[in-house]
């Protein structure tokens, strides 16, 4: 019952009295965005929104990480991999009405490259460094006419294009970011199918259809509200009650009841992650490869997946998920074999000393409940004679301490950023990332060499070979017990159409519609 007096405000958007029903999608999620300036943040909740406000030069595929044209119609790489030329789409406008063109792209790159770790946290991770940094990958970005951009690199970078397809590198309106400066994140302007309306902190972000969107017939929805429900159960409740239309972060345990509910549908996000048990190779007893292998045999991955991923995951044998090219199908991995584990432990002369088993305090897509997985592992280890004490810290502390190598064994995981093997193998297990993301302190000359080579190898097939070799060695050396590649679950009302969850976790909602 809308009151009629609201018409007096003269607001054309007033919800009251409209004849045609607006198509509003309410997307329930676990946390609020930090900022809506995609380059200023690293968190998925921000990307979820900015994915729909901004567009990147290159897009990922609908449900994978293959490269598709985005704002750039086409691109060409030089043979030596040191320069790329992009042909831009014409006639695109930013939400503020300004034109998208080569100059805008250049200004965006300038903005990114001139930043620092505080303001552009992701840039350095993906492109080596900022203007003037030794490690910087990008040398220059220049416009060649109105709709052509040339990017020159300092050294070849194999995943360069994949990086460009990542949400943080959405192209923003230069007029807007020059005007708003730091405040740009509160009032983002891109070329995306939706434009920003309002943001109630820790509550909801509202975006609405961008009428001048360059792709005809899109977006289908009039409005999207991203609403925060920190509790998984609260979010599901809201979905069941029809207060929201889509919910991510569904507990695996609720999967069956959602499938049984005619009002709801279950979505599975293609897996691009790995959950693992890291074994710090510098700490006894895990400095002994036999012990590490023993632990690999000791853990009943399938049972864990059945219980705590509710089957919504795949047993992992490699440090990267199968969807990523370069995955080595042939690695045998370790079966659940407690007897063998015991034997290996004996062989290794394990003294029965109690280890600390670190359990993640927070749920992550790759590990819905670290505590419980830890409990299950504790039991598995106990069965082969290894006593483990479960330890947990608050998330920030956990990461910091693990990074310093203070854990004996720890649960952790990784979600791929750009769908490249490098983003898993090199980032997580190369010696140059010790003290950073290589929490196991694993060091191996052979893999190191393989991975460095792969980084500059532009030929896909050759590259994959290098990675496959590396995976074999890693399996043998066993710095990890790869546990699972989980399929994060989402759920929606039955009338939601065309929603295809993306493996990166940032979903483009332009095609989503209601029945």
């Amino acid at each position: 019952a809308c009151s009629s007096d609201s018409k007096d405000d003269g607001k054309d958007e007033s919800t009251g009295g409209k004849e045609k029903k607006e198509k509003t999608l309410i997307f329930g999620r676990g946390g609020d965005s930090v900022s809506l300036d995609p380059i200023a943040v690293t968190d998925g909740e921000s990307y979820k929104v900015t994915q729909n406000l901004f567009e990147t030069l290159i897009n990922f595929g609908e449900q994978d990480t293959t490269l598709k044209p985005g704002l750039a119609k086409s691109w060409k790489a030089a043979k030596d991999g040191l320069s790329y030329t992009f042909e831009l789409q014409e006639g695109i406008k930013f939400h503020d009405g300004t034109d998208f063109n080569a100059e805008a792209v250049v200004k965006n790159f300038e903005r990114w490259m001139s930043g620092n770790a505080e303001t552009r946290p992701y840039f350095a991770s993906m492109f080596g460094g900022f203007n003037g940094d030794k490690a910087a990958v990008i040398k220059s970005v220049v416009a060649d006419g109105d709709y052509k951009v040339v990017i020159t690199l300092n050294r070849p970078q194999a995943p360069f294009l994949k990086n460009l397809a990542m949400v943080p590198f959405g192209i923003a309106s230069p007029t807007a970011f020059e005007k708003d400066g730091k405040k740009f994140g509160d009032n983002p302007v891109g070329t995306g199918p939706f434009k920003f309306v309002s943001w109630k902190r820790n509550d909801s972000v509202t975006i609405e259809k961008f009428a001048n969107y360059w792709q005809d017939g899109l977006p289908k929805l009039d409005k999207i509200v991203f609403k925060t429900y920190p509790e998984n159960s609260a979010r599901l409740n809201a979905l069941i009650k029809g207060e929201i239309d889509l919910a991510d972060g569904i507990n695996p345990s609720d999967a069956t009841s959602i499938e049984d509910n005619a009002d709801l549908q279950l979505f599975k996000r293609p897996s691009m992650n790995v959950g693992y048990l890291g074994l710090t190779v510098t700490r006894p007893p895990f400095d002994n490869v036999k012990v590490r292998q023993a632990v690999n045999y000791a853990i009943d991955k399938q049972a864990i997946i059945d219980a705590f991923f509710e089957g919504q995951a795949e047993v992992a044998k490699n440090p990267m998920p199968p969807v990523i090219s370069g995955y080595n199908e042939d690695v045998k991995g370790y079966d659940y074999d407690p007897a063998k584990a015991k034997a290996l432990l004996k062989e290794a002369g394990y003294d029965g000393k109690e280890i600390e088993l670190w359990a993640m305090p927070v749920p992550r897509p790759y590990m819905p409940d670290g505590q419980k997985v830890a409990e299950a592992i504790q039991k598995n280890l106990a069965d082969v004679g290894m006593k483990a004490k479960i330890v947990s810290y608050e998330w920030a502390t956990y990461l910091e301490k693990a990074e310093k190598g203070e854990a004996d064994a720890f649960l952790l995981g990784w979600t791929g950023d750009n769908g490249d093997a490098d983003n898993f193998l090199y980032t997580l297990l190369d010696e140059s990332n010790i003290g950073s993301n290589n929490y196991t302190f694993f060091k191996n000359a052979e893999t190191h060499e393989l991975m460095l080579k792969a980084q500059t190898e532009v030929n896909e097939a050759k590259r994959n070979k290098l990675y496959k070799k590396a995976q074999e060695i890693l399996s043998e050396e066993a710095p990890w017990v790869p546990l699972a590649h989980s399929t994060p679950l989402l759920a929606g009302r039955a009338d939601v159409l065309n929603f295809w969850p993306h493996p990166t976790g940032s979903d483009k909602l332009d095609k989503v519609d209601f029945k």
Binding site: S3, D9, E118, D203, A234, E243, A396
Partner: protein, 334 residues
């Protein structure tokens, strides 16, 4: 009176200063590097180091402390390390959400608690008394997070009567002005939304109200019982006054004074202690704001957030003291 208020406010300063210091020290003692948290798992070592430097985290703690104090004195609560938004502007919506919830809970708790207490005392040892006091005891013994979840399950899911989370209907969102949605909807004249806002308030407010309600009911009862035995109540009855007036005029005014203290204390607790309720009901309140900030090691937010909550707590106490003097002519603050 004004003089007294001024003096009380002055006395606040050392308490708040002490608070800032303790908060500051506790927070710095929490292991975990804000820079690392902000940059996330993916960050490189160098970028973490440079972020630390630009956030001023490399300075010795006392420099950081005095920097913080210095800006506090100019009324600057700092800027969130994570969102880069000034805490002062970011804080209000959260605080408003909590205030609205806490006030609703408190109104509920006071109305029901005080009356239950009065009636229980009036009809001491009646079935109502026993029942009310059993409920009150169970009420104080209840973990509210459990109660909240059970409430969601029963009233939200099974009976499907009430929304289980959030402050408003996402399909018909409130346009915030003051961020107190009850006020906002009235300002906009949107009574349909007002109704929604009320429906959203019911479950969390009830959950939050349970403990204070029980405490207030018990306190009111015992205070009333004492007052009912007093000579002046006997005098009022000896005049031939109706029992209702004896209770609600003579006794209540006297009995309410200790209850006020409890109400003030509980209100303070609700403001900062509603973390669990806010989490369970997805209520974007200050408790969760600070709690999450602890998770992110967002120092300025934690420091200023706690400071603001503490300030309100102390202010509530001051208001309670002033109320005393309004109720009781014997209390005079010069």
């Amino acid at each position: 009176m004004l003089h007294y208020i001024g003096k009380r406010l002055l006395q606040l300063i050392p308490v708040l200063l002490g608070m800032t210091f303790i908060v500051f020290m506790i927070i710095r003692a929490i292991p975990g590097d804000p820079a690392q948290v902000i940059l996330g798992q993916q960050a490189t070592k160098e970028s973490v180091a440079s972020l630390r430097a630009s956030l001023g985290l490399d300075n010795p703690w006392y420099i950081q402390y005095f920097d913080y104090l210095g800006s506090l004195f100019t009324g600057d609560l700092g800027e969130s390390m994570r969102t880069k938004v000034a805490v002062s502007s970011e804080l209000w919506p959260y605080l408003a959400a909590t205030l609205e919830l806490a006030l609703c809970a408190m109104i509920l708790a006071v109305i029901i608690g005080v009356n239950a207490g009065i009636i229980s005392a009036w009809f001491q040892n009646s079935w109502f008394d026993y029942l009310a006091m059993i409920i009150a005891l169970v009420g104080v013994s209840m973990p509210i997070f459990w109660l909240g979840l059970m409430g969601q399950w029963v009233f939200g899911i099974q009976l499907d009567l009430l929304p289980t989370s959030g402050r408003d209907d996402a399909r018909n969102p409130v346009d915030p002005v003051t961020y107190l949605y009850v006020v906002d909807t009235i300002i906009h004249g949107r009574f349909d939304q007002l109704w929604e806002v009320f429906k959203h308030l019911i479950l969390p407010a009830t959950a939050l109200a349970t403990i204070p309600m029980a405490i207030i009911a018990r306190m009111t009862r015992s205070s009333m019982l004492e007052v009912m035995r007093s000579d002046y109540v006997r005098t009022a009855r000896a005049k031939g006054q109706k029992m209702f007036w004896v209770v609600y005029k003579h006794a209540l005014k006297n009995a309410i004074i200790p209850v006020l203290t409890i109400i003030g204390l509980q209100m303070g607790l609700l403001l900062g202690g509603a973390i669990l309720t806010e989490t369970i009901f997805s209520w974007p309140g200050i408790g969760r704001y600070i709690y999450e900030a602890i998770g992110f090691r967002d120092y300025p937010v934690i420091q200023s957030g706690i400071l603001v909550v503490a300030f309100i707590f102390v202010m509530i106490n001051l208001i309670v003291d002033i109320l005393y003097s309004l109720i009781d002519p014997r209390i005079k603050y010069d």
